[in-house]
Amino acid sequence: MKNPESRAAFLFLTPAIVLLSIFFFAPVIAGFALSVTDFDLYTLGDVHNLRFVALRNYRELIGNPIFWTAFGNTMYFALVGGPLTVAVSLFAALLVNNKLTRWKALFRTVYFAPVVTTLVAVSVVFKYLYHPRFGIINLALGALHLPQPDWLGDPHFAMPAIILLAVWKGFGYTMIIFIAGLQTIPEELYEAARLDGAGAWGQFRHVTLPMLGPTFLFVGVVVAIGQLQIFAEPYVMTGGGPLNKTLTIVMMMYQQGFKFWRMGYAAAVAFILFLVIGAATLVQMRLGEKR
């Protein structure tokens, strides 16, 4: 510590390292420890009730059909909502970035606006837009003589309705990243493709898509991590219903941990979420390497 630079570094880093260690890293490690205990309401009253239970919470979870429902719903949300968000945002990026497009900044801002809105507030707004009788969505569908589902009340439509909200809320974010990716593609590649007789689709298929490879990887990982943590939308719009069709992993963790105070059990749910997110990240990185 004689070196003034390392002494300064020590002082500069202390607040950040102390705060992160106590309020992030320690709780994360403690979370894994908590998941092998029977921490519950009685433990909350008196710590002496705490017992080590090894993998009992995990065994109980694996045998609990509600957990598999939550797991399946979360996967449904991520595997349908994720690709849909990516597709819509790529489409929007191509339109906004088109050479012919005027007022690019305006369109970019408009499409991005939902990203910065408060998730809880827009979930409230969509809850009313989805109202089976008075909601604008069903009024519009009715005017077109199309079926008017009870979006949030019908087990088949509740999750798709939440996915639509998530796509609306999130596509602007990935659109911005795609626009940045599109702008790094050299114009000469398109010219060469045109000389080879490639039309608009051919250029998209053989120039744009391959050149966006790394962007796809980044976008895929970010979207997947975000989507697997879905909580506020079902909390506000459906409470996890109807028939648990919108119950998600994080929601189950919240209910078990902070409603029923089964914190050991909830910690096991959280750890499984961690594994799922880690696996999703790894799978996408592997797919990225192959290309």
């Binding site: 630079e5 002494r7 300064a8 570094a9 002082l11 500069f12 880093l13 950040a16 705060l19 309020f23 992030f24 709780p27 979370g31 908590l34 929007a92 088109n98 497009t101 369109f107 801002t109 408009v110 499409y111 991005f112 606006a113 939902p114 910065v116 809105t117 408060t118 809880v120 507030a121 827009v122 707004v125 809850k127 009313y128 837009l129 008075f134 604008i136 009024l139 609306w168 911005i176 990243i177 940045a180 790394p214 962007t215 990887l217 980044f218 970010v222 991590i225 943590q229 506020a232 909390y235 506000v236 994080v250 919240y254 902070f258 909830a266 959280a270 979420l273 961690f274 997110i277 990240t281």
Partner: protein
Amino acid sequence: MSRGWKSIVLHAVLIAGGLLTLFPLLWMVSASFMSNGESTTFPPHLVPHAATLAQYKALFLRLNLGRAFLSSAIVAITVTLSSVLFGSMAGYAFAKLRFGGRERIFGILLIAIIVPPQVGMLPLFLLMKTLHLVNTYWGVIIPSMVTVFGIFLIRQFMLSVPQELLEAARIDGAGEFRIYWSVVMPLARPILATLATFMFMSTWNDFMWPLIILSNQSHHTLPVALANLLGEHVLDVELMMSGSVVTVLPVLILFLVLQRYYIAGLMVGSVKG
């Protein structure tokens, strides 16, 4: 298809998409100025027949939403200031100061980016309970006072600050803190604005942790207060819309004013991938 037609179709799709994107927000604003029950009449009113502030009056005078607004502001401003201060200190040290184990410590911090925050929430709650910080603003603020994302963002920027500038200041006899505060911080203004915008918005919009730590109504932030209000007033569509406007508008305006900085932050975040 000729160039002119292409352009017309392109802009038609762009405008239609823009209207579709803005519609939920426009409807929210419009319905918030309607009187009770007007938004659910048939045929529907898209625009209030006689605009009224009744819903906003009810929110602030009767339902005390002003208190939640204040809570949100206190929490978001404190988090923003502290994360900019501590994030810039750490980011500067990681980028520009030479010390043993620098890369290793930074590498360990980066692990945090892939760990979902929910994993730590249960023990964090117990910790806050032990510290008697449940139902306090500090309980919401402390876990976000510094973020790994912020440290990363600042470090990436600071790497481009020329080392000669710091050496020159050292030769002039400036102390390390003075160099950070008077030489580096003024240079870093754009990235500090980016981080501040990011932190303010994400804290303002945050829901799950405030919901957990603030069980008492007196300290509820806007998203928690709004979710609670929905429980009692689910039939008062217009009232809920005005509550949504109050929650969304501050961040939306802030974004429109500072979007340059906000989008710059997104780009730095995406370059790392």
